[in-house]
């Protein structure tokens, strides 16, 4: 295998600049001391970060996003674990079709899902409620939870379970002491990936969130549609900071590479 030449490294530098530029620009502009969009040249200021405190809708949207992500991901994982065990262990009629159904929210444009949920929840009287948001988010993050729990359920060594049974363990004990601990890494990373996807989701949520139930990305999106000012850059900078922190933790704990490549490569 050959090393990268100088030309390749130049290209690499340009590419990394392209990938990071828009993210860094948001973070820089957030520190502007001016009342308009500008780069902080001679001095930096936190005034726009303090300004977030005067807009309670951003704060409440942040907490709502956090709860929504945590709750819907937890429920999605609870649904995925038995489904993943069934798909990993049994060859039954309809297995392929069922897996395709569970993965389908990845394929369906989120605009279509947003419209479908809006119509459905309005008919049910759940329009604009937190309950509706949770149900919708469970459906869209379940594929992420299922993929990672499925990956760990497929790799599970069943002879450990058989050993436990032959030593007299009951079904409940095997599940609690053997099976669940073995799929735990997949379960935790599945939850984390589901959480991030729920926390970032905007396209589908913008259809079903009402003024009292807006999530943070929806609030930011609607704000930007009206006007772009330094306030929304400081909110975005906070979101970026939280995501980067989560990313580093996730990378250390599980390996981003494994998390993302596992997610893209096991589709077949």
């Amino acid at each position: 295998m050959s090393r990268n030449g100088p030309l390749a490294l130049c290209y690499h530098a340009l590419f990394v600049t392209f990938m990071l530029a828009p993210i860094l620009v948001v973070c820089f502009v957030a520190f502007t001391p001016e009342g308009y969009l500008s780069f902080p040249t001679d001095r930096w200021s936190l005034r726009w970060f303090y300004a977030i405190g005067r807009y309670p809708e951003f704060i409440s949207a942040f907490w709502r996003s956090l709860w929504l992500g945590a709750l819907s991901s937890a429920i999605a994982v609870a649904f995925s674990v038995p489904a993943a065990l069934a798909i990993a262990r049994y060859r039954f009629r309809g297995r392929e079709a069922m897996t395709a159904l569970f993965m389908s929210p990845l394929m369906i444009p989120h605009v279509v899902l947003g419209i479908a949920f809006l119509r459905f929840f309005t008919e049910l009287g759940l329009g604009g409620t937190f309950m509706g948001l949770v149900l919708a988010h469970i459906v869209i993050v379940l594929p992420f939870a299922l993929r990672l729990t499925l990956a760990s359920a497929v790799g599970l060594d069943r002879s450990i379970e058989h050993a436990a049974i032959s030593l007299g363990a009951s079904e409940g004990t095997v599940l609690r002491r053997i099976t669940l601990p073995l799929v735990l890494p997949g379960l935790v990373s599945g939850w984390a990936l589901a959480f991030i996807n729920s926390f970032d989701e905007v396209t589908m949520t913008v259809f079903i969130a009402a003024p009292g139930t807006e999530t943070l990305p929806v609030r930011m999106f609607l704000y930007i549609q009206d006007n772009i000012d330094p306030l929304v850059t400081s909110v975005s900078a906070c979101v970026i900071a939280v995501t980067v922190a989560a990313l580093i933790v996730l990378d250390r704990a599980y390996g981003l590479e494994r998390l993302l490549v596992g997610r893209s490569a096991d589709g077949r």
């Binding site: 828009p22 049994y90 095997v174 999106f221 772009i228 979101v239 970026i240």
Partner: protein, 299 residues
């Protein structure tokens, strides 16, 4: 739970293992039928309903919305724009992303994982925040990007990026780039680097190695990445909405407008259902082609 089905007497075991998978998947299956399939079916039905400014939605079965989409050139132009943007975005991510994946693959351990984190990480950062970054860089006619391009001597007059298709393509290419790098990188992991060395040892030049060895082996990765990027670009919402503003519409932003501004839900549903149908046809068709062409690689 049926993890222990095989300890039960033979007949009972068979019966249980036939029922067990259904019992285990039942909760998720019920959820998906109730909260995914039924709403989708309702949306398809909605697209056949009638709507009027004052009467609202009328649950009848008519082809009015579909006829409007088929005959009004506005929709043809809008769908053509949507798929043109998606195609350009896909091309750019393939042309720029594939070489970068190869460069990443040649890096040594620590640098490789660091830059993989830098390049794939943005995938998990909010799309709204990333698009906001592009809106700041474009910033009308005097934006930072134009200043940089002019000072490098690449252009003489500022290019319009904001509220244009060019701007949408650039921002979408950035937003979706990680998927392409990821797909090509995953394909590269399956390669044997010794084949490249063997070609060099047999006297092949760098161009020949690239054309005859690397490219054919990376192609399945590029194609599967292209399918993902195309599908996501054609159905993207937040980026076209922010960069395109209120006038330059793509399919998803038009459907949003019909739903939340005009309130013509049946028409919006028809636009969305058409987008879904076209995308499913393209994605399934392209996947079939790729899998048939590269059956030996995937097998």
């Amino acid at each position: 739970m049926s993890a222990v089905a095989d300890t039960a007497p033979q007949g009972a075991a068979e019966e249980r293992s036939a029922r067990a998978p259904w019992a285990l998947t039942a909760p998720a299956l019920m959820l998906f039928v109730g909260v995914l399939l039924i709403p989708l079916a309702m949306t398809v039905m909605l697209s056949f309903h009638d709507w009027g400014q004052y009467k609202g939605i009328e649950p009848v079965f008519i082809l009015k919305n579909w006829r409007e989409i088929a005959t009004d050139l506005y929709y043809a132009e809008m769908f053509w724009r949507t798929f043109r943007i998606a195609l350009l975005t896909t091309l750019i991510t393939a042309v720029l992303g594939a070489p970068e994946a190869c460069i990443l693959n040649r890096m040594s351990g620590r640098w490789k994982s660091f830059f993989l984190l830098v390049i794939l990480g943005p995938l998990l950062i909010s799309v709204v925040a990333r698009t906001l970054g592009w809106a700041l860089l474009f910033g009308g006619n005097s934006g930072l990007l134009n200043k940089a391009l002019i000072s490098m001597g690449l252009i003489s007059a500022p290019l319009p990026f904001m509220f244009t298709e060019t701007g949408m393509v650039v921002a979408l290419a950035h937003v979706l780039m990680p998927y392409m790098v990821l797909a090509v990188w995953a394909a590269l992991q399956r390669l044997d680097p010794q084949v490249e060395n063997a070609a060099v040892a047999l006297g092949a030049g760098p161009v020949t190695v690239l054309r005859r060895i690397v490219l054919p082996q990376v192609m399945p990765g590029i194609l599967s990445g292209a399918i993902i990027v195309f599908a996501l670009a054609a159905s993207a919402f937040a980026t076209p909405a922010i960069i395109g503003g209120r006038r330059l519409k793509v399919a998803s932003t038009l459907a949003y407008d019909e739903f939340l501004n005009t309130l013509n839900w049946p028409l919006g549903a028809a636009v969305a259902v058409l987008l879904l149908l076209v995308l499913v046809l393209i994605v399934v068709g392209a996947s079939r082609l790729v899998e048939r062409r590269y059956a030996q690689v995937f097998g």
